[in-house]
Amino acid sequence: MIVRTPAGLYCPAGDFYIDPSRKVARAVITHAHADHARRGMDAYWCAAIGAEVLRCRIGPKARIHPVPYGEPFTFGAAQVSFHPAGHILGSAQVRIEIGGEVWVIAGDYKRAPDPTCAPFEVVPCDVFVTEATFGLPIYRWDPPEQVGQGIFAWWQACRARGEAAVLTGYSLGKTQRLLALLHPHAPDAVVALHGAAAAITQAYRDAGVRLLATEPIDGVADLAGRLVISPPLSPGSALLERLGPHQTAFASGWIRSGRSRGGDQGFVLSDHADWPALVRTCLETGAKRVLVQYASGDALPRYLRHRGVAAELFA
């Protein structure tokens, strides 16, 4: 039903691609991150709530067909629908049904609660195509509220010392999740936000997501004690130079295994499923076959086979 091609996952019966990497006529997009949504496709189909975010990334002229979660549409013999993936705003699993057989392409997903997007929905299927970015039994995430508490405490410690607290994370998804996560701790705070995340953050607000107030970092004269959220910065960057005394922290799942440093502090916060969530999801879908992509090894399919599920790398 779905095959891997140089341009990405392809459905011959419906003649469409999922998250294509090369120019194609019909691109079904799981979410707007740059390694999934690329410019130059003739037309895009995505979950309706993520359409504006996608437009921020691929340009205003792109032909985007927004489709609400759960609403089926047809490409040839294939009936397609989007279902929440819980990764970022508008992230979707793609359900494809042809002649009674159901495949679900999960894209990137997580099971942890995230106030910025709809929670992951388990979609029963025959074949489940899962990601495995953190597909090793070394990755388990603490509850996000606990991480939020830790980040807030770090910020307050910086503030007490008169230092700016520079929190870095990807501009789409992680930045907005941080703004939402910290909202209960300091609802009246105004965060200095890097320009790269401004438009996307506004798109989140327009979609009704409650975030901390932000202002452009360039407009803030004195950043002492302020929280700054920015994409990852290289040491010695002009922005860091301008900040004066500051501490940096990075929020990422890779912090867990020590693979990502580059800050005074690291917080384990990921928008992907951890190992327990990957295993649980594969089992809960009831899929007879699991295909694993975005994995650095074959630990997940090996483990699933050990548990009696037919699983392999999607090669």
Partner: protein, 446 residues
């Protein structure tokens, strides 16, 4: 029992029992326990969590640190949050980790699996690292500062006490936390103890000296012998025979600091190994800058540092000094550590262009090296004839011949003896008993 993060040790020590604190210091200094086969830990994970071996291996490869990877696997796969056991570090070490190496493999696996529910991720890492033969060493400065903050003792005192061997016992902990007897001398570890100033301090008890240009040295007359030490703690007496000759009549116990002049000729001699005719052509003299004990005798005496600040500075300029130098009040040894005599036993001899011997002190059944020094050629034949063992060019001598050595005694945390007689010279063979290591450590401790 939990294991604090690096910045939280001061608080931990502040509330720990003496037994637990002693174990913590021992481990944070790099103490190890007997390692177990890494395969045991791997087997415990596979068995305990129903894993496939390749998955454990891939995890270890991904993390690059087996101890961290294994701790992460436990923390990821256990289904219940850890409930720390109420026991302390000493119990963990003495009742759980130390006996582990003596168990049969199956019992080791069982024992390890029993600990998982009572250790959080940080403690799991510590356990995995220790049982795999690693250490949980804390950067020395971090440990020193944590102890200093927790115990209210100056960092220098903690430094010196930590340089002595430390066993995880209450006795060693109590030695560490005993009230300070004064700031111990420390040439290498203290901040630069001299500061160039342009205004003499108002308090006349604060020592100052002329900041004269030229290489600084310390002259010591001890046991009838003259020693001239350069400020890198090397004895350079042989390179300055004219100064040694002048000092020959000084009474024992004389110690003073000075500078050598002219500067260029003095530097050349300090840097060379042998005194050639060219170096002899320019005589070098010693200008005394600070008398520590005795009188300067035939040497140019120190100019009295009296008068108002303006006059002092004018005098400094007239002397060619850059100004005045304030000597940190706690710095007993601004220049090299005073020479210390040690009686040690010859244990190794290495032949080469120079015949260099290693000398050691006995501690129990072990010989802990404390110095290296050049010895007479005549010794080679004896060592060769009596060598216990030969390792390449190194001959292992029977530990029966003792020598009087003189050198700069330094704390040396990386060496087994925790001290080292720097730049040692052999004075003579002796029948005297070997120096007691504990006394030398005590001397260093002030």
């Amino acid at each position: 029992m939990s294991w604090p993060r690096e910045g939280d040790w001061a608080g931990w020590f502040g509330s720990a029992s003496a037994e637990d604190a002693a174990w913590a210091v021992h481990l944070l200094l790099g103490g190890r326990i007997r390692r177990i086969d890494p395969g045991i830990l791997r087997a415990a994970l596979i068995e305990g969590f129903d894993l496939v071996p390749e998955i454990v291996d891939q995890s270890v490869d991904a993390v690059g640190d087996p101890a961290l990877a294994m701790a992460l696997i436990v923390d990821t796969l256990r289904t219940e949050a850890p409930a720390p056991a109420p026991c302390g570090l000493r119990s963990w070490m003495e009742q759980r980790l130390l006996p582990l190496a003596r168990l049969e493999p199956a019992a080791q696996i069982d024992a390890i699996a029993r600990w998982w529910p009572t250790a959080d991720l940080v403690l799991l890492q510590v356990i995995c690292r220790l049982v795999l033969g690693g250490t949980v060493r804390l950067p020395f400065a971090a440990l020193r500062d944590a102890l200093s903050a927790a115990l209210g003792l100056p960092a220098e005192v903690i430094t010196h006490r930590l340089l002595a061997p430390f066993a995880p016992t209450v006795a060693d902990w109590e030695r560490l936390i005993a009230p300070a007897r004064g700031i111990p001398p420390s040439r290498r570890l203290a901040p630069v103890p001299e500061v160039l100033i342009d205004t003499p301090p108002a308090d006349p008890s604060i020592p100052v000296t002329w900041a004269l240009p030229g290489p600084t040295v310390q002259l010591v007359k001890r046991a009838g012998e003259v020693h001239l030490w350069a400020d890198d703690a090397r004895p350079r007496t042989a390179m300055f025979p004219e100064i040694a000759a002048l000092a020959a009549d000084l009474p024992d116990g004389t110690v003073f600091d000075g500078v050598l002049r002219p500067r260029a000729a003095a530097r050349e001699r300090l840097e060379r190994q042998r005194l050639g005719p060219r170096q002899r052509a320019t005589p070098v003299e010693l200008q005394v800058t600070r008398i520590r004990a005795g009188r300067p005798g035939p040497f140019a005496p120190i100019e009295p540092l009296t008068g108002d600040p303006a006059a002092l500075l004018a005098k400094a300029r007239a002397l060619g000094a850059r100004g005045l130098r304030w000597i940190a009040p706690d710095a007993d040894r601004v220049l090299p550590a005073p020479a210390q005599e040690v009686v040690a036993t010859l244990v190794y001899l290495q032949a080469g262009p120079r015949l260099v011997a290693s000398f050691a002190l006995p501690v129990g059944d072990a010989w802990l090296p404390v110095a290296k020094a050049e010895v007479e050629r005549g010794l080679y034949a004896w060592v060769k004839a009596n060598a216990i063992e030969r390792n390449g060019p190194v001959l292992v001598a029977p530990p029966v011949r003792r020598f009087r050595l003189i050198g700069a005694l330094q704390a040396a945390p990386r060496r087994k003896a925790k001290l080292w007689l720097d730049a040692a010279e052999v004075i003579a063979e002796t029948d005297a008993p070997p120096s007691a290591l504990a006394e030398l450590v005590g001397w260093l401790d002030g």
